[in-house]
């Protein structure tokens, strides 16, 4: 009995440590995970785009590069908050040459806890880094005790990490060099497995329903009274401090939003003033583009703050013109 128990314990321990290393290896080699990709130190960009889904889906580095005449990488991530952005920015600077410019997307929603969030699972392969663990400890107290446990640090977020780890092995095995989103920009459509329907362009699925819903019930963004959150401010300041320490020029901006919605947000103007004051502390003005003609037409938007690609190209023209004037 005791012998069997010992064998069981030894087997479990061996399996736990082996799987822990395998998952770490897989995740670190997955080029499609932005944190892992920048962690490999392969990115060379002069301008970095940072923020949640709005810049992810609207700022096309290939297009912006031509206008700015400098290389651009889009480090934005879906549903991310400032802390998420901060850690990605930190990992980027730690492993790659520092860019010259940071384009940071900021909107009143960015300072309100009800919008976007911090995703600790994105940083599971970087738990050896004290900055990463301190940030996770600050923002995800549920995950914090699991961080130091072999294997469980990954399987805690198993639904999000198991597949990427397997994909990482595939990338390593195939010698893949570039990620699926080579410059971090994602065209606005959900990715669909070609396994199911190779001919499909994958631009409808559930997203069609969301588009229809936007026309009728844009409750997520309309009629909001924003609530300022101190932790959001803390990590915004950390991004700005990190950029300043590396001598980056920071452009704090908000891309055009649908005026039919923005007009209903009760304290939007107060938040804009506050963000402007905060940015000014770091020598950056806050650029808002809610006065552009683009903002008036519903047809230009996928959601209240996200433009369709034609409208976003117009916006990038305006943005780059303004940046170029700065130079």
């Amino acid at each position: 009995m005791l012998k069997k128990l010992t064998i069981l314990l030894l087997l479990v321990m061996a399996a736990v440590f082996a799987l822990d290393h395998l998952l770490f290896f897989g995740l670190s080699h997955n080029l499609n995970l932005k944190a892992s990709y920048v962690g490999q130190g392969k990115v060379r960009a002069e301008a970095l785009v940072l923020g949640p889904c709005e810049p992810l889906f609207t700022i096309d580095p290939d297009y912006l590069e031509k206008k700015l005449k400098r290389s651009v990488y889009n480090l934005s991530l879906n549903h991310s908050d400032f802390a998420d952005n901060y850690l990605h920015f930190y990992l980027y600077l730690k492993n790659n040459p520092a860019p010259k410019m940071l384009l940071l997307y900021v909107t009143p929603e960015s300072f309100d806890l009800r919008f976007n969030t911090f995703h600790a699972y994105r940083f599971a392969p970087f738990l050896a880094d004290s900055i990463v663990t301190a940030t996770i400890g600050d923002l995800d107290s549920n995950y914090a005790p699991w961080m130091r446990l072999p294997l469980l640090r990954y399987s805690y977020f198993g639904r999000m990490l198991l597949f990427p780890a397997l994909q990482g092995f595939k990338h390593w095995n195939s010698g893949k060099q570039k990620p699926y989103l080579s410059k971090g920009y994602e065209q606005h459509r959900p990715a669909v497995s070609p396994f199911f329907d190779p001919a499909r362009k994958s631009d409808s699925l559930l997203f069609d329903v969301q588009l229809d819903e936007f026309g009728n019930t844009p409750e997520d963004a309309a009629d909001k009274t924003f609530i300022w959150n101190a932790k959001r401010e803390k990590y915004f300041v950390k991004i700005m401090e990190l950029a300043r320490a590396k001598g980056l020029q920071v452009i704090v901006y908000e891309s055009p939003g649908f005026s039919g919605i923005l007009g209903t947000q009760r304290n939007r103007h107060l938040f804009l003033q506050k963000i402007n004051a905060l940015s000014s502390r770091f020598g950056s003005a806050y650029w808002c583009f809610d006065h552009l003609a683009t903002c008036g037409a519903r047809a230009n938007f996928i959601s209240p703050l996200m433009m369709k690609s034609a409208a976003s190209q117009n916006f990038m023209d305006t943005l780059s013109l303004r940046i170029n004037k700065l130079k």
Partner: protein
């Protein structure tokens, strides 16, 4: 969750140690049970103790008062029912499915389960089947015994007495067998049920229109989820109990292999059905015994009405109960006319019927019921035109590769499990130390378990 699990393991280990070492094992069980409840929600102790003390003294009152026995019995049951109604109405306001009712649910920890025990206790004393317990501590322990408190199995006082109040004899086989069963339950809950939860939630909580097949499939997903969730809890409860050398009754016997609804109810939540048969079905059908068919039909209606009420006060549960009343009545009539169908067809129809009824069970409110039944009965859009967009993407909660992987993995695990379920059950009930069994389960749980956003036990809501 990690810390909670650690505390639980430590308390369990200490309880086992003291249980087998001390001269007062029942005291150990009593305090371990109180500690367990207090850890989850200390206020729940007051409710549990209040109920148990009331039941203890009221039982004695029923037994000593020969003339007013019936009146005291009716009054006692009414008090318990009223309390159940009050708490269920309070919970209903917040919606048991949304998670916002969680603090209140904790307050009423196990209320539905121990209320059944108290009611059966009154009934059994009234008809003279048992004598009232003389020691309040024993009675309270039978209600508070922690492995069964949260989600059952439902036991009567005389069963609890037989199982609990024996001198403990330490056997290593009990520990091994308990561990085998506990790990099996944890696997069912953490790997199977919690992987299915977001998939069924996508059907029941989405506001988008669905194809009929997708909506009905949501009912099947929920049926699987609730089965793995509930039977997983029961396995863990029985496993822990077995470690103490206490055998609690089984609650499931391969219900998803049932070939008729009658068959299904003999295999699903068996202890509740036994309770309902003994204390609702038989007493009421007895009054209509002159007509066998009528008495059976009335028994079915009242039993399922009580079962629906026990699960929750709301039209959705009543509709769920009504579905099963209809199914069982049809089967009863078919049985009388000696109509038989092939077993494979019977199994298929049973699964579809149970899944359809579970659409009402899970819906939460009438709006969702209306939406989903409209989806199911819109026959021209029953089958998705595009299976990827109309079915897979909905169930997988998105069209991304990661979502599809999780969906496919859950489907594979569930299929494999159901295919080998009987064999797995046999290993889980074995008292042999099987290294490969425990190793496989622990590893599967560690790699595939859902820890970050797992669901609370479904039956803890009732």
């Amino acid at each position: 969750m990690l810390l909670e699990a650690l505390y639980f393991v430590v308390v369990l280990a200490l309880s086992l140690l003291f249980y087998y070492r001390t001269k007062y094992p029942l005291h150990v069980l009593f305090f371990a049970s109180l500690f367990f409840i207090a850890y989850m929600q200390w206020c729940a102790i007051l409710l549990l103790l209040g109920n148990a003390i009331f039941a203890f003294y009221w039982g004695r009152l029923i037994s000593t008062s020969a003339k007013r026995k019936q009146a005291l019995f009716v009054f006692g049951v009414s008090i318990l029912l009223l309390e159940l109604i009050i708490f269920k109405v309070l919970l209903l306001e917040d919606g048991a499915w949304t998670g916002s009712a969680a603090p209140k649910l904790m307050l009423t920890l196990g209320l539905s389960f121990y209320t059944l025990q108290h009611m059966a206790y009154f009934f059994d004393i009234k008809i003279g089947r048992i004598q009232p317990e003389e020691k309040a501590g024993y009675y309270i322990l039978s209600a508070a015994y922690f492995p069964k408190l949260l989600c059952g199995p439902v036991i009567t006082y005389q069963n609890a007495k037989k199982a609990l109040f024996n001198a403990p004899i330490f056997k290593i086989e009990n520990l091994v067998s308990g561990a085998n069963r506990f790990a099996f339950g944890a696997f069912k809950k953490l790997v199977l049920a919690d992987r299915l939860a977001p998939m069924s939630a996508a059907v029941f909580e989405g506001s988008y229109p669905l194809h009929g097949f997708t909506a009905l499939f949501g009912g099947l997903l929920f049926t699987l989820q609730v089965y793995f969730d509930f039977s997983g809890y029961i396995d863990m409860a029985l496993g822990i109990s077995r470690m103490f050398g206490i055998n609690l009754p089984e609650n499931f016997a391969l219900p998803l292999r049932a070939t008729s609804i009658t068959h299904f109810w003999r295999r699903w939540h068996m202890t509740l059905m036994q309770w309902l048969s003994a204390y609702v079905y038989y007493p009421f059908s007895y009054y209509f015994r002159k007509s066998a068919l009528l008495s059976a039909l009335i028994g079915i209606v009242l039993t399922l009405f009580f079962s629906a009420f026990w699960h929750g006060i709301g039209l959705t549960f009543l509709l769920w109960g009504a579905c099963h009343m209809l199914y069982l009545s049809i089967e009863l009539l078919a049985q009388q006319r000696q109509i038989e169908i092939p077993k494979a067809l019977g199994w298929f129809l049973t699964i579809v019927a149970v899944s359809f009824a579970n659409v009402f069970f899970r819906a939460g409110d009438l709006q969702v019921v209306y939406k989903l039944t409209t989806d199911i009965f819109s026959l021209n859009t029953f089958w998705p035109h595009n299976w990827l967009a109309g079915f897979v993407a909905v169930i997988a909660k998105g069209g991304e590769l990661n979502d599809l992987f999780n969906c496919a993995l859950a489907a594979l695990l569930v299929l494999l499990f159901l295919l080998f379920e009987a064999r797995l059950n046999a290993i889980a009930n074995s008292d042999k130390f099987n290294v490969s069994w425990l190793f496989s389960l622990l590893l599967l749980i560690a790699v595939l378990g859902v820890f970050s956003d797992g669901e609370q036990f479904i039956y803890a809501r009732f």
